[in-house]
């Protein structure tokens, strides 16, 4: 045992001593001197200009949040509670003062990830990279930079910078840091010391070191549904059925449903969807749910013993033919109410 210990110490000295001379100040357990702090400062300032240029203010109705542009197509990562309902109009205010039109894409309620797309991205859009690894969270204790707009847009002030460290991971989609955040920061980027986005500001509680950010792993996991929210919303037909030896028997057709609009009636026996045989009532649900709202399908059915083919335009359960209904622009009121709570 003693032997082992000595060997272990020798091993540590061999490995740690040469390394300690080389590791950057921000990878130490804690900075040890003014020189270390200056090294940290130099690293932060070497990436900060780019980080700040790509950080934007998002305005919708009376509320505002933050976001970060991550590609030339104008994709903005933000918080789900900032982007809100897919399809709604968003004004994207750049750090240089330009105001661009945008549209909310998807939002994930669970992790609070969200996206906005700049409608006509100009060529000289400032962008930053984001962490695209699918399963790697930042390291505990890792230094990071938070940028955002606490309290909303302030042209003279610009974005506000904070430097802090990763404290822990309250759940698999959340990073907690001691970079202090406030309402209006929501949706803003958390960067590592290479200026790569590693999180998106999401929520806080009263303790000053409880600042939470959506992890990039959460964005990766939900990517498809965020980019194209309709891809995640199942289609809906609107019939109650039971199994029948010839197919599935319609017991009831819901009012205002796609089935009703297409003329499907009670006592029809549904047999095929787009030439695919319906095995039973559960199978019908699965088949329908595999389509997106807005898809037109051919339903083959028996009515009074005669075969009939009806075309149905499927919708989402709440009635839209698309999950991103470009309804009228947001009214101001609910947003105004939210203004102060928009964290």
């Amino acid at each position: 045992m003693r032997n082992l210990k000595i060997k272990f110490v020798a091993f540590l000295m061999a490995v740690v001593l040469p390394l300690s001379a080389a590791i950057p100040a921000w990878e130490k357990e804690a900075p040890e001197s003014i020189a270390d702090l200056l090294a940290i400062q130099k690293q932060v300032q070497s990436v900060l200009k780019k980080c700040m240029a790509a950080t934007v203010t998002l305005q919708m109705g009376g509320s505002s949040g933050s976001g970060v542009i991550v590609n030339k197509d104008g994709l903005v990562l933000t918080a789900g509670h900032v982007s809100g309902r897919p399809g709604r109009a968003v004004t994207v205010v750049l750090a240089d003062g330009r105001r661009l039109k945008g549209k909310a894409l998807g939002a994930h309620k669970g992790s609070d990830s969200g996206m906005v797309r700049i409608t006509d991205p100009p060529d000289n859009l400032p962008i930053v990279d984001f962490d695209q690894s699918k399963d790697k969270l930042p390291k505990m204790g890792q230094w990071c930079i938070a940028v955002g707009n606490p309290g909303g847009l302030d042209k003279e002030r610009g974005a506000v910078v904070r430097v802090g460290r990763v404290i822990n991971f309250p759940d698999s989609s959340t990073i907690r840091t001691d970079c202090m955040l406030l309402g209006g920061d929501s949706g803003g980027p958390l960067f590592d010391f290479d200026g790569v986005v590693i999180g998106i500001h999401s929520r806080i509680s009263k303790p000053l070191d409880d600042n939470r950010h959506v992890s990039m792993t959460a964005f990766q996991a939900e990517w498809e549904g965020l980019i194209d929210p309709s891809s995640k919303i199942p289609a809906f037909l609107g019939v109650f059925t039971e199994d029948n030896e010839k197919g599935v028997l319609v017991l009831e057709v819901r009012d205002n449903s796609p089935a009703k609009k297409a003329g499907i009636r009670k006592d029809d026996i549904l047999q095929k969807i787009n030439d695919k045989k319906i095995k039973d009532a559960v199978d019908l649900t699965d088949i329908i749910r595999s389509f997106r709202p807005g898809t037109k399908v051919k339903v083959t059915l028996l009515r009074n013993g005669k075969e009939k083919v009806i075309e149905v335009s499927l919708e989402s359960r709440d009635g839209g033919s698309s999950s991103a209904p470009p309804k009228k622009e947001d009214s101001e009121k609910p947003e105004d109410k939210k203004k102060d709570d928009d964290k």
């Binding site: 804690a30 940290i40 204790g141 430097v163 102060d340």
Partner: protein, 339 residues
């Protein structure tokens, strides 16, 4: 037995990372990290004083060898000249005299009546950029002077005045035909209540000028600083009366109407607006740390902390402006000192 114990230990070691957190000492405000600022912090110990005003305590900064101290004026609105007590480095509690005030920068200038070597050099606030480390004095561990580091965090700029309030809600009728603006609520303990304004009073003039529109009236009142006294003319039934009201700070008068950002920020500075030019940092300070010095990593003074705006935004008056105020007030200070 031994084997199971080892297995159990291994298991706990395996489980630990998932539940573990960065130890407090390694967090940005933790001991281990803050220890790196120690060298830059030395300057703070020689020039930071505690200033007592009744039961209130705030920080002050020694700004000259002949014993002048600068602190946050709005924390001393009720003090009588000569009644401030100060405790500083190597000093017992002693009296200090108020020798000047500068409202635009919210500074009060005190005279310690003795020579003190502040032990720092003037810095240059124009050299600061986003991400530059700064060090501020804190009142955390009396009687010691604490320090805390954080970065320069936003553009230097003017902070516009928020203006004073009388503490009423004008939620009722207004307009020329109505003949004024109706008071629907009077904030408890606010300036209007203290002056005798009642619910359903109809205000029709401010400082002798008739105003019948709600928005216009709010604008006129707001154009005055807190602490200003205005004359409000109102009708109560058949009676007409003129009432003098001294304006208060919105966040104090309407404390219960705090927005979410203020609720999340703990106690903020009463006066946190109306500064010609401030520099902003993220050093997590309390309201009573205002008046304390702000240094760069070389230990040069770059500003004096003036307001905690919220939990993220802290303002300091740049050192250049402090020096200008001392120059501008030189005659007034000499006079007060009886020189």
């Amino acid at each position: 037995m031994k084997k199971t114990l080892i297995a159990a230990l291994l298991l706990s070691a395996w489980l630990a990372p998932a539940a573990s957190q960065l130890k407090r000492e390694f967090r940005t405000d933790g001991k281990a990290v803050q220890a790196a600022f120690a060298e830059a912090a030395k300057a703070a110990k020689n020039c930071t004083v505690r200033v007592f005003n009744g039961s209130k305590m705030v920080l002050g900064t020694v700004v000259s060898k002949d014993g002048l101290v600068v602190a946050k004026n709005s924390e001393f609105s009720t003090v009588k000249p000569g009644l401030v007590r100060v405790m500083g480095p190597g000093m017992r509690i002693a009296r200090a005299r108020v020798v000047a005030r500068d409202i635009p920068h919210d500074l009060i200038i005190l005279d310690l009546g003795r020579e003190v070597d502040p032990g720092y050099e003037w810095g240059d606030s124009e050299d600061l950029a986003h991400g530059t480390w700064l060090v501020a004095a804190t009142a955390d561990n009396p009687p010691k002077v604490g320090v805390r580091g954080g970065v320069f965090s936003a553009n230097a700029r003017e902070i516009k005045k928020a203006g004073g309030v009388i503490g009423v809600i004008l939620g009722g009728r207004d307009g020329k035909s109505f003949g004024g603006v109706q008071v629907t609520e009077v904030a408890k303990g606010g300036p209007a209540e203290k002056a005798g304004v009642e619910k359903n009073d109809v205000i029709y003039a401010i400082d002798g000028k008739e105003v019948f529109e709600r928005a216009k009236m709010i604008e006129i009142v707001k154009s005055n600083d807190p602490g200003t006294t205005i004359t409000v003319s109102l009708k109560r039934g058949d009676k007409k009366m003129d009432i003098e009201i001294t304006l208060g700070y919105r966040n104090l008068v309407f404390a219960e109407l705090k927005n979410r950002n203020d609720r999340m920020s703990g106690t903020v500075s009463v006066r946190r607006t109306g500064f010609e030019r401030i520099i902003q940092h993220e050093i997590s300070l309390g309201k009573s740390d205002m008046g304390g010095p702000l240094f760069d990593l070389e230990g040069k003074l770059v500003g004096i902390n003036i307001a905690k705006s919220n939990r993220v935004e802290f303002f300091a008056i740049p050192v250049e402006d402090i020096r200008q105020v001392l120059e501008d007030k030189a005659d007034e200070i000499s006079k007060a000192r009886g020189e």
